[in-house]
């Protein structure tokens, strides 16, 4: 992680120094089998970079939104497979890890305009949904803590709103699809659900329709021309005089 030079100061109290030492404590992690000593406070992504690798696949937003950085790991003396986003998961002593930056997934190609918001659509576009064996592995693996299996089940019932709501925060890292014994592509199902909801089930917004009509009819043309022709001084005055909601 880079640091803002401007935000740095030189004077350190002893308490702060102790904190800093903690920050430079090193732990050993195994990146694809190879041991590296990295700062104890590092994220998995930070550790990989500290070890000297230039990430090409496996980093995008670096802030937990894009899902480029899915990682799986095990901890010493523990049989479990853990997972997380490399950009926001902090390393632990003895962690053995790998990034899964890409997992083969086929996105269905469809014409949203020809779909209906119901179970039959999920059946047609992603029939694999109906193979769910309710093992809940997808939910357990989700780094966002989403109820993934619940939205897969909602898709089977044709409850588009629930698919939308439960998958809203999905970052599409694809770890669920990777672990799914039924080979479902949960994150893609979530996107379909959201688009169906937005397109067909959203609440109608009369004020939006009206505003679009006004603009098309040129209602604001005159005012725009006036604003664009204003001198800087006049514009300034209008700006600083404007009222606030």
């Amino acid at each position: 992680m880079s640091s803002g030079k401007n935000a740095k100061s030189k004077n350190k109290s002893t308490a702060k120094k102790a904190e800093e030492d903690a920050a430079f404590r090193l732990v050993t992690v195994y990146i694809m089998g190879k041991p590296y000593k990295v700062p104890a406070e590092a994220t998995i992504m930070g550790a990989i970079e500290y070890a000297g690798q230039q990430i090409i696949r496996g980093a995008g937003c670096r802030e937990g939104f894009c899902g480029a950085c899915g990682a799986i790991f095990r901890l010493p003396g523990d049989y479990k497979i853990y997972s997380g986003l490399a950009c926001t998961t902090v390393v632990q002593e003895g962690m053995t890890l790998t990034q899964i930056p890409a997992f083969p997934v086929q996105k269905a190609v469809y014409d949203l305009e020809k779909l209906e918001p119901n179970a039959a659509t999920f059946q047609k576009v992603y029939p694999v949904v109906f193979r769910c064996v309710s093992c809940n592995t997808c939910t357990k693996v989700c780094p966002q803590g989403l109820q993934v299996m619940d939205y897969v089940n909602a898709a089977m019932r044709g409850d588009v709103e629930a698919v939308m709501d439960l998958s809203f925060d999905c970052v599409c890292c694809g770890l669920c699809a990777m672990r799914c014994p039924a080979e479902i592509v949960q994150h893609k199902v979530g996107i379909l659900g959201k688009r169906l909801y937005g397109r067909y089930l959203r609440k109608h917004s009369p004020e939006l329709a009206e505003r679009v009509k006004q603009i098309e009819a040129g209602v604001f043309d005159k005012e725009f021309s006036q604003l664009m022709a204003m001198s800087k001084e006049k514009l300034k005055k209008a700006y600083y005089d404007r009222d606030m909601e």
């Binding site: 992680m1 401007n6 100061s9 980093a59 190609v109 937005g198 939006l208 300034k236």
Partner: protein, 566 residues
């Protein structure tokens, strides 16, 4: 969890909260907004752009003689990856009508719009599709949809926020197209936050005089980006995309028109030549240049590549002396330093307070003003210091539930809550520690309202452009920007390619650039575009071995890339 040494200050924040809640419940601002003079003073004294070494004269190219942000001047005064002599332009790997460089919001909007005009496009992008700043916007998009608002009022807010330096025709396009964009996205399946009666939820943002910020919880960009990407991928016959294939240079034809790009596969390290009738640069911003060593909110590939390519091809830049620092970047915990805390937090009632828990600035000043006020507070000893030496002020988020009712924060800010709870900080109970973070490229390649540059066949849209926001962008206007101008680019490139004829391809502008550098006496080992920043510790780099045959390993070449200092 906050460390012991912050407890004292946190206690004060709690103590002053009731009083500040009172203020928030009253009508009117919780702190007096600055007037024009006060604003100017705050900028002059504390904004990073106003520090003496923040700018440097550029000695080559269309803006020659102009002072630009130092790091920008440096990447412009640098060598090309491409040796024109070694590139075979006569046998391009691909030919297309419209080449779109950048698979973010602007690029995808353009591809979909062009498709509707019957024009085929080819998107090349550096990382994966959607690995882009577009994916990350949380707060929302401005659009004058509410009945109390008008597009012309939006115009006034935007141009005032930009200190009256914005190009009027671009501001008009931005604000007038806004409501249409809301509908366009909704029809593609974007889910806007709405009230029970169907009306769209609008909130305040910095510098807005009406509630105008519309959103998709705090995953606004993620929802829009994934919707656009899904649509792009639904039309394989019309839109082709290639990932991990950044462009390095634009290709021109002998008549001075832009006619393609030299690209570079990050997987196989090969050059790819793509010939096109028109080219759209939609490469986004430059946060990963870490201007003045600042941490950034931007995605991994935000290295200002479009600026470099277009500049070498002869396009003029506008306002590349101005950088946007977002007032509220995370400062603690260290792992998420730079992480963006959406302005919507302040829009919803979150207040910035100093180490004594006191308000010191109106929470919704335009960003450059708000940032300057934060820096002032820290530089005058009223901030909170972290163990790793960072400074910050508190952003008091617990007020939000107290104002709007329990559960509001969870519903409106799930991403934010999730990010902090990982480090045992519950933003419903505790404030966040913040400091300005490098956020947005205010300026860029100059365009007109058709996204045209001075070069025939070269169009630009989105964060890579300059002029829309003047020297300071308001929150929510860049999500609107990439939608409005992405669509416009799709429209006007389509009209253009239907008539365009491409002549013989050439890269002689690269030779000319090298000659000009030589003439100006510039000696540098910097090779740009930057493509990816390097976070490899310096000592590790030095230990690296060259590959056999003295060819440098790909990673070693990254040595010449701009590194964050600090």
């Amino acid at each position: 969890m906050y460390p012991e040494y912050m407890a004292q200050s946190l206690k004060k924040v709690v103590q002053t909260r009731a009083k500040r809640l009172e203020l928030a419940r009253k009508k009117g601002p919780v702190f007096a907004p600055m007037n024009a003079d006060q604003r100017q003073q705050a900028l002059d004294k504390y904004h990073p752009d106003y520090k003496s070494d923040s700018k440097q004269k550029v000695n080559v190219g269309p803006n020659k003689g102009e002072a630009l942000t130092t790091e920008v001047a440096k990447i412009l005064e640098s060598h090309s990856w491409v040796d024109p002599e070694k590139i075979d332009l006569d046998n391009p790997h691909h030919e297309t009508d419209l080449l779109i460089i950048g698979g973010g919001g602007a690029g995808c909007n353009a591809a979909i719009t062009a498709m509707k005009q019957g024009v085929k496009s080819f998107i090349i992008t550096k990382l994966r599709m959607g690995d882009a700043n577009t994916m990350m916007s949380q707060g929302g998009m401005q659009a004058a949809v509410s009945t109390t608002d008008t597009p012309t009022r939006h115009y006034l807010d935007a141009i005032g926020g930009g200190h009256f330096t914005n190009k009027p025709e671009l501001v008009r396009a931005l604000t007038e197209d806004g409501p249409g964009v809301v509908k366009w996205l909704e029809d593609l399946g974007v889910i806007w936050d709405k009230h029970e009666d169907g009306s769209i939820q609008v909130l305040h943002g910095g510098g807005t005089s009406r509630k105008r910020m519309i959103s998709c919880r705090d995953y606004t960009g993620a929802i829009i980006m994934r919707t656009l990407m899904d649509e792009v991928k639904n039309h394989p016959g019309m839109i082709t995309y290639r990932e991990f294939l950044p462009a390095l240079e634009l290709i021109m034809d002998v008549n001075g028109k832009c006619a393609g790009a030299v690209c570079y596969s990050l997987d196989t390290e090969q050059f790819h030549i793509i010939k096109a009738k028109a080219v759209l640069v939609a490469t986004g911003g430059f946060g990963r240049l870490h201007i003045r060593g600042f941490a950034t909110t931007n995605h991994y590939g935000a290295t200002g590549d479009g600026l470099v390519m277009a500049y070498r091809a002869g396009a003029k830049l506008m306002y590349m002396d101005s950088v946007q620092y977002h007032p509220t970047g995370a400062v603690f915990p260290e792992q998420i330093a730079g992480f963006l805390i959406t302005e919507k937090i302040r829009g919803a009632g979150g207040q910035p307070v100093n180490k004594d828990g006191e308000l010191f600035v109106f929470p919704r000043e335009p960003r450059d003003i708000e940032s300057s006020a934060f820096i002032k507070e820290c530089e005058t000893g009223m901030g909170v210091k972290t163990a790793s030496g960072r400074d910050g002020v508190w952003l008091d988020s617990p007020l939000i539930d107290q104002i709007h009712g329990e559960g509001y924060t969870m519903k409106q800010f799930p991403a934010m809550h999730r990010q902090f709870i990982k480090y045992s900080i519950d933003i419903i109970k505790d404030p966040m520690l913040v400091y300005p973070s490098l956020h947005y490229q205010n300026g860029g390649i100059e365009i007109n309202d058709k996204c045209e540059t001075g070069i025939e066949g070269l169009f630009v849209a989105g964060e890579a452009t300059g002029g829309v926001h003047g020297r300071n962008r308001l929150m929510g206007n860049s999500v609107l920007d990439y939608n409005v101008f992405g669509r416009r680019a799709g429209q006007y490139t389509s009209e253009y390619v239907k008539k365009a004829k491409t002549g013989k391809l050439t890269l002689k502008h690269i030779d000319a650039h090298e000659k000009e550098m030589d003439k100006a006496g510039i000696y540098t080992d910097l090779v740009t575009p930057v493509i990816l920043p390097s976070y490899t510790p310096e000592d590790v780099k030095i230990r690296r071995l060259a590959r056999s045959g003295n060819a440098l390993a790909r990673h070693e070449m990254l040595k010449t890339r701009v590194r964050p200092s600090g």
